[in-house]
Amino acid sequence: MNTHASPEIIRTDNVTKKFGEMVAVDHVNYSLCENEIAGIIGSNGAGKTTFFNLITGYYTPEEGTVIYEGKDITALPAQKRVALGMMRTFQLTSTFDSLTVTDNLVLSFIRAHKKHSLFNLFVTPRSRHRNNDKIKECLETFDLQQVAQRDVKHLSLGEKRRLEIAMSILAEPKVLLLDEPLAGLSETEIKGVLDVLRLNVSKQTILIVEHKISKVEDFLERLTVMHEGKIIADGKCEECLNAPEVRKSYWQID
């Protein structure tokens, strides 16, 4: 099933999540290797976001286990998983509207680059971070220099999305999990976001959940298709999309 040479970083064994009678994720076995660029697609209600929430700790599965770097993290809360190097974005952007773009970046920066003791938290950003090269570099890469001092609430959706991905990359996670990062963006903005993600390819494991395959097809090394809580295809994009089950369930609906 998996031809990637690098070691496994995330694995799920038989994870199951039910909402009342509905089985949202049904005994899913999935594994992700280091530095892999993988995607999960599926129609609405296929269970992809639920599965994502199980991996990132926003839900706890009723059955099964989630393994991260060989350790069982099934019961670990979301913020502890962040500390292990898992970073996620949300369908609705999770930037802080009342802060400036730079301040948003500073907040995502502090955890990654030093132990944040209370004392360190009292340091003003101007003294330590404002001229920080990493943040500067990040603003340039994501084409956010012009809006660096602007409050996030005045940004466009594309800019917010870029900022959100910038924040998650700045935290230097081992695994970057992106939940529909392209939803609601224009064609040029999509290209911008993907270009930025490409810069980090081979340095990071990336898992993307998307609704529409056409947007991310060229970008992914591996594709998984979910339908009604189950994985129905897994492998190279083309193979997956031509698989008979996928043709039946995914293409028909989408």
């Binding site: 913020q79 962040v82 802080f96 955890r111």
Partner: protein, 289 residues
């Protein structure tokens, strides 16, 4: 109404508003960040006043008393946060509110046990009078107003300039996403709670020379402080300052116009403001969650 009465009324209103402001920012920040209605802040207010009294009796200086009151209030707040709130933050807001009311009542009981039921006097540390437009004003009242404005500036700088402050503002917006960045939000909670406790203690210490220190003093200001928080808009520091001064003026000038108005007029004003602007003067979209 003559000018002298009006001027002394305005100054009286500003000084009482200053005390309300110091109490209300703590409540407002605690609600904004931790989603708790921390009625026990009024206990730290009373503790601040009693420690001021006690230290004044032993050292002869009201100012040492006020400082000591801030320290002790902060320490008690820290203890309460550690041993009680840390275990119940996740619970329903009504649960934490009732718990905080329990802490307040228990604390008032402890104060009665230690200092007795009788109201105790604390003299004004500054006896001098200043003359403004021919009206004699106690300098101490002016000092109280200046201190509260300095606190406002300090809190503003803390929230806007330091990383902790920015993290607190981010947390007021969306605490789960702050957690998602891997920031330990409980440290932010503790920091905020201690700041609130220290400011409540400061409010009590500064208020002590203007009133008699008595065990029920927290419960007596409770409705007014609540009003300040609600009129100002939850989570807004600027709104809290403005509304504290409004409520102070309404109480003070209301009393000059017609005695019984002092108690009732603020409620009428609150009703009016909420009818026009349900989120309060500077209310944000906080309540959407």
């Amino acid at each position: 109404m003559d000018t002298q009465l009006l001027i002394s009324g305005v100054i009286f209103g500003l000084s009482i508003g200053s005390v309300f402001f110091l109490l209300a920012i703590g409540l407002s920040l605690c609600f904004g960040l931790m989603r708790i209605i921390s009625l026990d802040q009024l206990l730290y207010y009373a503790i601040g006043a009693y420690i001021t009294y006690a230290l004044f009796r032993s050292t002869g200086s009201v100012w040492i008393g006020v400082l000591g009151g801030m320290v002790i209030s902060g320490l008690v707040a820290f203890g309460v946060e550690r041993f009680i709130f840390l275990r119940i933050y996740e619970r329903d807001i009504t649960f934490t509110m009732i718990a905080s009311f329990g802490i307040l009542i228990a604390g008032v009981g402890a104060i009665k046990y230690v200092w007795g039921l009788a109201p105790l006097p604390v003299p004004s540390p500054i006896g001098a009078m200043a003359t403004i437009l021919g009206t004699e004003i106690p300098v101490y009242r002016l000092v109280v107003i200046v201190i509260s404005i300095l606190v406002y500036v300090g809190i503003w700088a803390f929230l806007n300039k330091t990383i902790t402050g920015k993290a607190i503002r981010a947390g007021i917006e969306d605490i789960e996403h702050v957690e998602g960045l891997g920031i330990n939000v409980y440290k932010l909670f503790t920091t905020t709670f201690i700041i609130a406790g220290v400011l409540s203690g400061l409010a009590g210490g500064l208020h002590a020379p203007l009133i008699m220190v008595d065990p029920q003093m927290g419960l007596e200001v409770l409705p007014f402080v609540f009003m300040v928080v609600i009129i100002g808009g939850l989570g807004s520091i600027k709104g809290t300052l403005v509304s504290a001064f409004i409520v102070g003026q309404v109480i003070s000038l209301g009393a000059i116009i017609y005695g019984p108005l002092a108690q009732m007029a603020p409620f009428a004003i609150m009703l009016l403001i909420l009818l026009i602007k349900p989120t309060g003067l500077y209310g944000s979209k906080l309540l959407k969650r």
